[in-house]
């Protein structure tokens, strides 16, 4: 894993992490340290699990209100509506309880609450010049890593594209990782969100902007996911496995927030925007195909992934080890019970060309280790995954 002689990077990871079964008990103290009143952002599915009631109880009279209308692919209109409710409640701290869509919606709300206007006014990168509304994240999945990242992915319905809002000043202040908050996650969602974390780790490890700190986080995340994701799927109440998956997702989040992502995410975002394919499922299907597409460019790094996955042996040369990593990734995805082909998810073949075109304008494509020259190359990868 050699680095260029002129290696230079910034590493940014300011979020306080509180981990452990029962750590949700720390929530009220963290909110009190950041402000006076908290506004809870969540979704209908989480209410049904009973987790919202638990969090409301922990917040007690610190709770100013709840917004639970976050859909799977949240949009700018949802963010603006949520921010309006939060401001009307008098809250000055946001608590998000949920998966990636909830957390990213809450991130958007933090900006609108502080700066005014609507989220569309803040399209760009690093535009903000002051700390945004304090945000405490309680993830209920182990995959997105959004609890520690500076980015939010929000659907712009007018443009029919997911946009990325990336702001250091909007990074969550606190992440509370309580494995009990994820134990009710169904096996299929455990698998797909876990593959989201795996994709973050792999893509950041081979990214053009990788660095030694993100690399360490990414490789350890891969090791944890290979060991603990099958255990978490087999027995959702295994808090050890749940907790280690939360840590893996967080490490992968730190890795990609600093090293960025690649072609898998560009293609998965496009599938999400055009075909409404859940992000983790799309990642899981695309990951081995993009690894194979990239492997001649980053064979040594892909061989490192083989080692992290436990399939590299000393007799293998770099090329063989890289191939073993791709093969093992395909086998791993099969073993966790996820779909193997885009056609299994109901994607129509005629939609792939539009997805390929859209992928070329996704921010993630810039950092892919192999320069993606045109949409035809992307379409070719989609077809292999179809």
């Amino acid at each position: 894993m050699a680095y260029d002689a002129d290696l230079n990077f910034n590493y940014f990871g300011p979020t306080k992490v509180i981990f452990g079964p029962g750590s949700i008990g720390e929530l009220s103290m963290e909110v009190s340290a950041l402000g006076r009143k908290a506004f809870l952002v969540t979704d209908r599915g989480i209410i049904e699990t009973g987790l919202v009631d638990q969090v409301k109880e922990k917040l007690g009279n610190l709770l100013a209100g709840v917004y639970a209308d976050v859909p799977q692919d949240s949009g700018m209109d949802v963010v603006d509506q949520g921010a309006e409710s939060a401001l009307a409640s008098g809250a000055d701290v946001i608590v998000s309880l949920g998966g990636g869509s909830v957390i990213d919606t809450a991130k958007g709300m933090c900006i609108v609450m502080k700066e005014g206007g609507g989220l569309k006014d803040f399209q760009g990168m690093q535009m903000l010049t002051r700390q945004q509304t304090p945000h405490v994240v309680v993830p209920t999945t182990a995959g997105t890593g959004s609890e520690v990242t500076s980015g939010a992915v929000i659907l712009d319905k007018d443009q029919g594209q997911k946009i990325i809002i990336f702001e250091y000043f909007n990074t969550p202040r606190v992440a509370i990782l309580d494995p009990r908050m994820t134990e009710k996650l169904p096996a299929n969602l455990t698998a797909s969100t876990g593959m989201d974390a795996m994709t973050h780790a792999v893509e950041s490890y081979v990214s053009q902007t990788r660095n030694p700190i993100s690399d360490a986080a990414a490789l350890h995340a891969i090791k944890l996911i290979v060991k603990y994701l099958p255990m978490a799927i087999e027995n959702g109440e295994n808090l050890m496995a749940r907790g280690q998956m939360q840590i893996a997702a967080l490490l992968a989040g730190w890795a990609f927030s600093n090293a960025m992502l690649g072609l898998v995410h560009a293609m998965a975002h496009s599938l999400g925007a055009i075909c409404r394919i859940p992000h983790g499922l799309a990642n899981g299907i695309l990951l081995p195909h993009v690894m194979r597409y990239n492997s001649d460019e980053v064979s040594e790094l892909t061989a490192d992934i083989a080692q992290a996955m436990g399939v590299a042996v000393s007799s293998m040369d770099v090329s063989t080890a890289a191939s073993a990593a791709v093969d093992e990734m395909e086998a791993f995805i099969r073993s966790v019970g996820l779909d193997q082909r885009l056609s299994d998810l109901g994607v129509r073949e005629e939609e792939l060309e539009k997805c390929a075109d859209l992928s070329m304008s996704d921010g993630s494509v810039i950092y892919n280790p192999k320069m993606v020259m045109d949409a035809a190359e992307v379409l070719n990868v989609y077809r292999k995954a179809y």
Partner: protein
Amino acid sequence: MAKLDVFSDEWCKAWEDKVKASKDFAVFNKGWQGDIGCVMLKDPDASVPEDQFLYLDFEDGVVNGIGMVDKEKAENAKFVISGPYVRWKQVAQKELDAVKGMMQGKLKLKGNLPYVVKYLKGVQESIRCLTEVDSRFPDD
């Protein structure tokens, strides 16, 4: 040929001519719509006592002009990129990739990032053309 002072009209014209002469730029920028304002924040220690405002008028692969403008015109462009003078110097000398600089908070972008990414090769080509201009920076 004498070096050209950065931010001078001659320097802007030399850069504009380089971009106009680039066949790659015409191809990579095909379809682009929207002007670009660049805000270079003052740095008195580097002999840049005032903010500088640069305006790039590109349209569908054609260069309509590159020039220094007033604050209002630069800040009202469809895309506005701003940052300290030293960061812009790094970009102009190919020491800093503009998009990487945005991700790291060294430069700020106001505007639709996916749109910029779609035409990234055109952006990169215009910066490559700038590196061909024999430039004299205020703090050289």
